[in-house]
């Protein structure tokens, strides 16, 4: 956040400069470490050998021994053991001669404790499994490390973030793709998630004259300009045998006032190559493509490639331009895969798309969460969804915030609330539910015992009914907590609980 704030003011092309500086930093630090690597351990080691030598010679002749014995500093405690010396030597020459597997466990641990985190990955990647070593690597490189986000494994975190970093700063036709592919054999067994929040477009020396055209009609330029394609993930993803999560944003971060439309171009070639990539990746469980201007056609290309995917569980296409046709394709995907989470927030889905989704949802048994925030499904789509929920027995989370819904949907939803026993969370914020709709929802809530969250903020509902709904939810939560052995609701993020919503 702070970096974003800082870059907001700067008018220069920050992305490129940042990239160059970061690479410089890296190289400089690498050089530093290579030169200083063995030094910090040396100074402590050097004095003992001279003494040990003296001791060795002293053993042969009595005269010498007397001389050594008079040395006031000499004592047995200072003399390091031979194993210590060996370990130090191994640590010092680890880059050229990595010896680890043959050592005894205790010695192994010592070696690992003393290894420098700047050793080349080609040496360490497949040799060292010790978490503490990778922890040192990570903490040295990044100030903030959330290891829990990487499955609790420091090694995985290191490789994932390393790879992400490379991808973020990859400039097509400028950076050597071998740079990434070299890393592939080292990290293929450890990377499970790829979260890339920016893809840089190819650098254009004269961007000025074209920028106006592009900003006016981005899609046309995109078609006729293959030079704006981003990095093709195909080879990389095909090499990662354990990849489970792919989180991509085809766009540039922190552009600030340098905003240009062509920074956010997700071209058809990108789309097709990405589709082929995710189709070939059978281990993929979570696929996110957000903020990338994915329109109906691209969404359909992507979703078609995901039909009957063996492992896919979550699809996130939020903050795109997906319309009704894309929503219909997603509805088809619902019935042709084992999708559990579908996120279409902030798209352009309208009533027709919502109806097709509702049709698919009516008999679906996999989907747990559906997010349609900031779309425009209106009452028609809302009613269709409510009808679908009367037969659905699987969905637990439904987000319909900001969808221009009003009273008719609320009446139908209140009927659903009385019947449905699987829904635990509904979000209807930023709609025009109205006073009567709020009352009907309150009636529906009075028969429901499973709903834990119900967000009605800024939806023109009377404060009283919202308060009463909150009370009912509270009771439901308490019941759920007593049912569950672990008080999970204690820490769960609960959003909807607000009589505080202003009436005005």
């Amino acid at each position: 956040m702070q970096s974003m704030q800082a870059t907001l003011g700067t008018p220069t092309s920050s992305a490129l400069s940042r990239f160059s500086t970061s690479t410089q930093d890296k190289s400089s630090t690498a050089g530093q470490t290579s030169s200083t690597g063995p030094q910090p351990s040396r100074p402590s080691i050097i004095p003992p050998p001279s003494k040990s030598k003296g001791w060795g010679t002293g053993a042969s002749g009595g005269r010498m021994r007397r001389i050594i014995a008079e040395d006031p500093e000499w004592s047995l405690a200072i003399v390091p053991l031979l194993t210590e010396l060996c370990i130090q030597h191994i640590v010092g020459n680890f880059q050229n001669n990595p010896i680890l597997k043959q050592l005894l466990p205790e010695h192994k641990q010592k070696v690992l404790d003393h290894l420098s985190p700047d050793l080349p990955l080609a040496v360490t990647a497949n040799l060292i499994d010790d978490e503490s070593y990778w922890r040192r690597c990570c903490t040295q490189r990044w100030p903030v490390c959330h290891v829990a986000k990487h499955g609790g494994s420091w090694k995985r975190m290191f490789f994932e973030r390393h790879l992400e970093n490379l991808l973020r700063h990859f400039i097509p036709s400028t950076t050597d793709p071998a740079l990434i592919l070299e890393l592939l054999p080292l990290c293929r067994n450890y990377v499970r998630r790829l979260r890339v929040d920016q893809f840089l477009p190819p650098m254009k020396l004269p961007p000025r004259p074209r920028s106006g055209e592009l900003s006016e009609s981005g899609s046309e330029a995109e078609v006729e300009e293959p030079a704006t394609d981003h990095y093709q993930l195909g080879d990389l993803v095909a090499g990662l045998s354990h990849l489970e999560e792919l989180d991509l944003v085809y766009g540039v971060k922190d552009c600030g006032m340098n905003f240009e439309w062509n920074l956010f171009l997700f071209t058809y070639r990108d789309c097709h190559s990405l589709a082929a990539t995710i189709k070939a990746c059978h281990t993929l469980k979570i696929f996110r493509l957000t903020r990338s201007k994915v329109d109906d056609d691209k969404a359909r290309v992507l979703i078609r490639s995901l039909l009957d995917h063996p492992a896919l569980e979550e699809l996130d296409l939020s903050h795109n331009l997906v319309g009704d046709r894309g929503a219909r394709a997603a509805a088809k995907l619902l019935s042709h895969s084992r999708l559990r989470v579908l996120n279409l927030a902030n798209n352009q889905v309208r009533a027709l798309g919502a109806q097709s989704l509702a049709h698919a949802l009516a008999h679906n048994t996999n989907l747990i969460s559906l997010n349609l925030r900031l779309n425009c499904i209106e009452d028609e789509g809302g009613q269709a969804l409510a009808h679908a929920l009367q037969t659905n027995r699987c969905l637990t989370t439904l987000h319909l915030g900001g969808n221009e819904l009003s009273e008719p949907t609320a009446t139908l939803l209140s009927q659903v609330l009385a019947v449905n026993t699987t829904l635990t969370s509904i979000n209807l914020s930023c709609n025009h539910i109205g006073l009567d709709g709020g009352k009907q929802l309150l009636e529906g809530m009075s028969d429901n015992r499973t709903l834990l969250e119900f967000d009605l903020r800024l939806s023109d509902v009377a404060q009283e009914s919202e308060y009463l709904i909150g009370q009912a939810l509270c009771a439901n939560r308490e019941a759920a907590r007593q049912r569950a052995p672990n008080p999970s609701c204690f820490l769960s993020p609960i959003t909807a609980k607000g009589p505080e919503n202003p009436a005005g």
Binding site: M1, D197, H319, L374, G402, L458, I494, P499, E500
Partner: protein, 719 residues
């Protein structure tokens, strides 16, 4: 956060008033949440109070924990709400923006369309006027028209330019708005961060507070527990101390006691020690003496043993010699044994061979023997037949002779002696065929007889009973037998086949009985007459045996042993043959034999009957041997059918008759002489006649005289 930021970047424009309104709407929400949270807490407190009563036994810390949990949950809820409020506000702003944007776009499009229409109209007008202008001939008009056209065109262009400038203005404002939006977003994000930090701080603080309060509660509880435990501990310690003191005192006392006792004991022990010492010293002396003695004896024994050892050595040597001898002997015996074994095996083999040959011989002999037997049987039959034929032939011959003799005798008696003759009647005269022992009659025949006879008896009582005994040589009367048999027939119907019973139904009663009994006897294995009698006797014995009451009545010897009794009974039965009165003393048997006992009796009888019948074959062979003892007598009798007296008579008669015959033959001779003489006479007479005839007279006289002489002699002989 990232998502929110992204959402924020997508917003290009927002309205300031909207935002301020949102701020204002969201700010008080904080207050309301706080207010509400306190209210909720109060409500919660009540709830907890209510819970307190119900869970009096729950510890204070638990209550504190529960309270804190609810409080913190509430806090988290409010906090997250506070934070997400920004997102919601941004959402609604975005929605409003979108609506307005749509509206503006629509208006703009409308405007543009209107503009296009009006400008098109104007353009059409201008083009029309060009056409008009072509037709104009007057330059003045043309100039005017051109001027007006120019004005129109300028107006049109001006309109367009205005529109363009308007749009550019809008674009500019949009650009401004974008900058504003960016600023506002950064503000929003700042606010969000602030709130989050605040929230984090708040949460941290409250968590810490709650933690502190929980810790305090725990500590208080711990302190209470500690104090109570300490009190308990002190109390226990005091008690322990008191007890310890008590123990100490008692221990001191005990120690003193023990010391006294120890002293006493020590003195006593000393004394005892001394006495024992003296005694032991004495013992030692004695033992030393004994030791000396033992040593002496030991030496003696040693010598003895040495001697013995020598002897034994010698013996050992001897025994070694003997042993070797024995060994040799054993080897020799082994050899012998082996020889014998081989011999034995050889013999066994030999004997086996012999045995085999003998068995084969035996088998052959047996077959031969069987054949021989068959032949013998055949020959015996043939012999029998031949014997019979010869016998018959001889007998016939003899009978012929006898009849001849009898004829002769009769003739002699009637004609010669003039006595009446009666034909002698002998058994053997009636006999035809060889004499054989009377054939054993089968049981059925006897049965038949018995039944028929008893029936006859029933019809005519007068017939003497002694006759009926003729056929039953044993001691039982006809009646009892019959009754027993009837009983048997009635009781043991199960032995008869059902088919037979069906067949028997139409028959008469007696025949029915007969056939039934026949079937029963065949089933029981009773074949001969003897068996039948045995059966009957068995019945009677049984009855006697098993009816002591009747016994007591008949004889006072009930005290005797059963064996003797049976003997006596047997004797009695033996005597029973004699007469009827005795039999009548015994009550009629069948009545006494209970029908239920019949089966038991039968079983016992059959068991008994089996035993003696086991070897039946040799008996049969013996049966065929003829008894020739009577034959000679028979033949002799046949030979001496005429008694010696008659023979003598016949001899005398013979001699007399011979004499008579002699006389008669003489007479016959004489007669023949006479006849011849007569013939001569006649011839002579004839000759004489002839001679007379020829010589008349001489010859006749002489022939006549001779004839007369002949006849006269004959007559004399006769007289």
């Amino acid at each position: 956060m990232g998502m929110q930021a992204g959402a924020a970047t997508l917003e290009n424009s927002t309205e300031v008033p909207q935002k301020t309104k949102n701020r204002t709407t969201l700010r008080p929400s904080n207050c309301t949440t706080r207010h509400l949270s306190t209210g909720y807490r109060e409500a919660l407190g009540e709830y907890l109070d209510g819970k307190k009563e119900s869970e009096e036994d729950q510890s204070k810390s638990y209550k504190q924990k529960e309270e804190s949990r609810l409080k913190l949950a509430k806090l988290l809820l409010c906090g997250t709400e506070l934070v997400t409020n920004i997102q919601v506000a941004a959402d609604i702003r975005e929605i409003h923006r979108r609506v307005e944007e749509g509206e503006i776009r629509r208006q703009r499009l409308e405007k543009l369309e209107n503009e296009v229409k009006t400008s098109q109209d104007k353009f059409d007008e201008i083009t029309m006027k060009w056409e008009e202008g072509k037709r104009k001939r007057i330059p003045q008009d043309l100039w005017d028209m051109l001027n007006t056209q120019q004005v129109h065109c300028a107006g049109l262009i001006e309109d367009k330019n205005k529109l363009i400038s308007e749009l550019q203005q809008e674009l500019k404002t949009k650009d401004d708005q974008y900058v504003k939006d960016l600023k506002k977003q950064s503000d929003d994000i700042c606010l969000l961060l602030e709130r989050m930090e605040e929230q984090v701080k708040n949460v941290m603080k409250t968590f810490r507070q709650e933690l502190n309060s929980i810790e305090k509660a725990f500590e208080a509880e711990r302190r209470e527990l500690l104090t109570s435990n300490k009190k308990k501990w002190e109390r226990a310690l005091q008690a322990h101390n008191a007890k310890e003191l008590e123990y100490l005192l008692s221990r001191i006392k005990k120690v003193e006691d023990y010391e006294k006792q120890l002293n006493k004991q020590r003195v006593w022990d000393c004394e005892e020690y001394n006495t024992i010492k003296i005694k032991l010293e004495q013992d030692v002396q004695i033992l030393e003496q004994q030791l000396q003695q033992m040593k002496a004896t030991y030496q003696l024994n040693q010598e003895k043993l040495e001697y013995n050892f020598q002897v034994l050595k010698k013996r050992d040597e001897e025994s070694v010699v003997i042993k070797s001898q024995q060994k040799r002997k054993i080897s020799r015996l082994h050899d012998i044994l082996n020889n014998l074994r081989s011999k034995y095996t050889r013999q066994i083999r030999q004997f086996e061979e012999e045995n085999q040959s003998l068995t084969s011989d035996y088998i052959r002999l047996v077959t031969q023997f069987k054949e021989l037997q068959k032949a013998m049987r055949h020959f015996a039959l043939l012999d029998d037949k031949r014997f019979r034929e010869i016998w018959l032939m001889n007998e016939e011959e003899a009978k012929d002779l006898i009849s001849k003799a009898f004829d002769v005798d009769r003739i002699i008696h009637t004609q010669h002696l003039g006595l009446p003759w009666t034909a002698p009647d002998f058994w053997f005269l009636r006999n035809v065929g060889p004499i054989s022992q009377q054939q054993q009659r089968s049981a059925t025949q006897i049965l038949e007889e018995v039944l028929i006879q008893t029936e006859e008896e029933g019809m005519e009582e007068a017939t003497s009973e002694t006759e009926s005994y003729l056929d039953l040589p044993k001691q039982v009367s006809m009646k009892t037998t019959r009754k027993i048999l009837m009983l048997l027939c009635d009781e043991s119907g199960f032995l008869i086949e059902s088919k037979l019973l069906n067949l028997l139904r139409p028959l008469e009663k007696s025949e029915c009985y007969l056939l039934k009994l026949d079937a029963i006897f065949s089933a029981l294995g009773i074949e001969s007459e003897d068996d039948l009698y045995k059966l009957v006797n068995f019945f009677l014995k049984y009855r006697v045996h098993h009816s002591p009451s009747s016994q007591e009545r008949t004889s006072p010897m009930s005290a005797l042993d059963p064996g003797e009794q049976t003997d006596l009974e047997r004797q009695k039965e033996g005597s029973l043959v004699g007469g009827e009165p005795e039999e009548k003393e015994v009550p009629p048997s069948p009545t006494l034999i209970h029908p239920n006992d019949v089966l038991k009796i039968l079983e016992a009888f059959v068991m008994g009957l089996r035993k003696p019948r086991d070897p039946p074959a040799p008996v049969k062979v013996v049966k065929y041997v003829r008894d020739t003892s009577k034959d000679s007598a028979y033949w002799e009798a046949l030979a001496t059918v005429l008694p010696y007296a008659t023979q003598n008579l016949w001899d005398a008669l013979y001699t007399a008759l011979e004499k008579y015959h002699l006389v008669l033959t003489q007479r016959a001779k004489l007669l023949i002489e006479n006849n011849s003489l007569e013939k001569q006479n006649t011839e002579l007479q004839m000759l004489l006649q002839q001679y007379l005839d020829s010589k008349v007279g001489d010859g006749d006289e002489e022939g006549g005289q001779e004839a007369v002489a002949g006849s006269g002699t004959g007559a004399d002989v006769r007289k």
